[in-house]
Symmetry: C2
Subunit: 387 residues, 2 copies
């Protein structure tokens, strides 16, 4: 049975052009870009060309401000730990939000274990951080503010520009985890005004296990990986050149097709949201207006999201109950509790993420399957009977 | 002009079977192994199968003791920083050797900046650490000993078993950087007795940007990458599954062909060393008897290794003057100074690393080219004229 992928945030398919570029890179079998003979120089040229292409996607002023990493999680760890450790003489305080990805939350938890202080800000019912709260949280000890660009469970897009104005005024470094935004919505590090920005290739139909960290020139940050002089001394280790070449191809296409893709995804998303009342009731849409074009968070009351996910799987449809990175945990999502959902509603939540490979027929098939699954589960739900 | 690669330590070519496996992985375009629907489960199955294959290469008791990383540098950073930060309550002292790779040296330098203490041990003229020195260096504050399995510039293989006996007795954690050994010489984490062991796929003709860290069950170590629950909670972040599949295929072949490969490389290495006196004089072989089968370190007196490398490049031959990871630095190699070479002799050093794709004809062509280049450079060397 072919699977309808409605879990793109966990894994986007590779673009055919990305596959071709990676296969060509495997055939070319480049030498080490750090080697100073001609075989090394040929590899270095491809690496730097890839850096230019990726830098263009986020409008970095200088390609050298882009550091290639092993993905969004490494980028975030590098940014958060690297900035805090590098600036300890100035202070030990970091400000985040309650709905950050675990890469941020668990990174600052490590720092806490080393004697650093963390302030984590509440969000409103839409999942939005209030810039005034950021301003109020910053002290003389604050080194870093890390607020995500978009949330991976609700799709909420944060007021990054407004927060950046505050951090600039207060001379605090600002990192944004834009892993689910880069290549999905327009991202311009100049207009955003951030100092560091994390991203991952798979979000724009490139390979997993490769990503990047934008580091604005002059930002004081330690490498996470110490060793050789690769990546302009910002990230040691032999490069995953095949992955980087795939990411560059994906970035090139994403930049060209961004408006078209956004319009298409928004249309599918609207089709889904608008049709829902015809299929189910007793649900909550957790995704606000200003959100990712490809994400719908849907809380199905009185039933377990996990059960819905598994039954949809039997129907040949992949959805997520929360971030794939958090799977394996049985606790309710910290994000959904933070926006004010009850524990029960949080547990009944599906994250549906659309991709450019989805069709209107996929949406319609999903709605039908969802109707069936929800009815089956509610028929045996004591909570539903009681309500 | 086809290039004769005598710089395999900087980059080994991909085995044809590895290329095939990676191309098949690109075509399969797996979903996220952390997703709990069937698309995720299919990816997880491939991931765990790869882990078993890689674990077999190093004789890990349990595949779960193998953590996939973005390469040797990440593995080393994870091991060194992870162990020291996790065990701060017990102490803050780490013991390394003077000839470790920069991944180790710069990792402990970071720790020093955070108030940790480092003891770096001398080596003898062969590049060997004396186990008695390790025993003497360990204090009640010592958490970790990190001594490399083989050195990337001299090829020296260290007495890891003897050191492990000491660390076990003294209840100190022992990490070995085996990046240039795994897949090249037999590595058995049981007989070595180490607690952690770093390795990289490219050393055994797998892709760059992917590697592993062996962590013996029960070893107290923090993740370097915090976030999701991937890799049994030891390394967060979506996996580079295409690279991991390539590494597993390379590991499978390496395990089968190790004796054959070693015999072949030793024969080429002997041919090179034995023939040298017929082509050049005034040189030093820095590689001791007990060394990697594929590495020859050669100090050419009175001339610059950099110039030799560039002129050999013009002859279509790739060699290294030192670790590719250290290229970009003009300082003499810390390894060569540590084994007692003068600054001048250190600067005149070539690292020749052979691969299974090299032939006897490559060796003969190299010897002829080397003779020509050395003569040209010595004819214009004031140092040589004076001597």
């Amino acid at each position: 049975m072919p699977i309808i992928n409605l879990d793109h945030i966990s894994s986007n398919p590779l673009m055919p052009e990305v596959k071709e570029a990676m296969i060509a890179a495997i055939a070319a079998d480049y030498h080490n870009p750090s080697s100073q003979h001609r075989a090394g120089e040929a590899a270095a040229a491809v690496l730097e060309q890839s850096r230019e292409t990726v830098a263009a996607l986020i409008h970095a002023a200088n390609p050298k401000e882009v550091v290639f990493t092993s993905g969004g999680t490494e980028s975030v760890n590098h940014a958060v730990k690297g900035v805090m450790l590098a600036n300890t003489k100035k202070g030990r305080h970091v400000v985040i939000s309650n709905i950050e990805h675990n890469a941020v939350i668990r990174s600052v938890r490590r720092l806490k274990g080393l004697g650093y202080q963390v302030t984590s800000l509440d969000v409103d019912a839409k999942g939005c951080v209030n810039p005034a709260d950021v301003a109020a949280a910053i002290t003389d000890e604050t080194i870093l503010v890390s607020i995500m660009h978009s949330n991976n469970e609700t799709g909420t897009i944060q007021p990054i520009e407004e927060i950046a104005e505050i951090t600039r005024k207060k001379k605090v470094i600002f990192h944004t985890d834009a892993v689910d935004s880069v290549g999905v919505v327009p991202i311009d590090v100049q207009s955003l005004g951030v100092d560091l920005l994390s991203f991952a290739a798979n979000s724009f139909y490139g390979p997993t296990g490769v990503g990047g960290l934008y580091i604005r020139q002059g930002t004081n940050v330690w490498p996470l990986l110490d060793g050789g002089t690769q990546e302009n001394n910002k990230r040691a280790g032999a490069e995953n050149l095949i992955g980087i070449i795939g990411m560059a191809k994906a970035a090139e296409i994403a930049r060209q097709k961004l408006p078209e893709r956004m319009a298409y995804l928004k249309r599918l998303k609207s089709r889904l949201i608008n049709a829902l009342p015809g299929y189910i009731d007793d649900y909550i849409i957790n995704t606000p207006e200003n959100s990712l074009p490809n994400l719908v968070s849907l809380s199905l009351r009185y039933i377990e999201g996990e059960s819905v996910m598994l039954m949809l799987d039997d129907e040949g449809m992949a959805v997520s109950t929360r971030s794939a990175c958090a799977s394996g945990s049985l606790r309710a999502s910290h994000v959904l509790l933070s926006i004010g959902l009850s524990h029960a509603d949080a547990q009944g939540t599906l994250v549906i993420t659309l991709g450019i490979d989805n069709t209107e027929a996929d949406i319609d098939a999903f709605l039908k399957a969802l109707q069936k699954v929800v009815k089956t589960l509610r028929d045996i739900s004591p909570l539903y009977q009681k309500a």
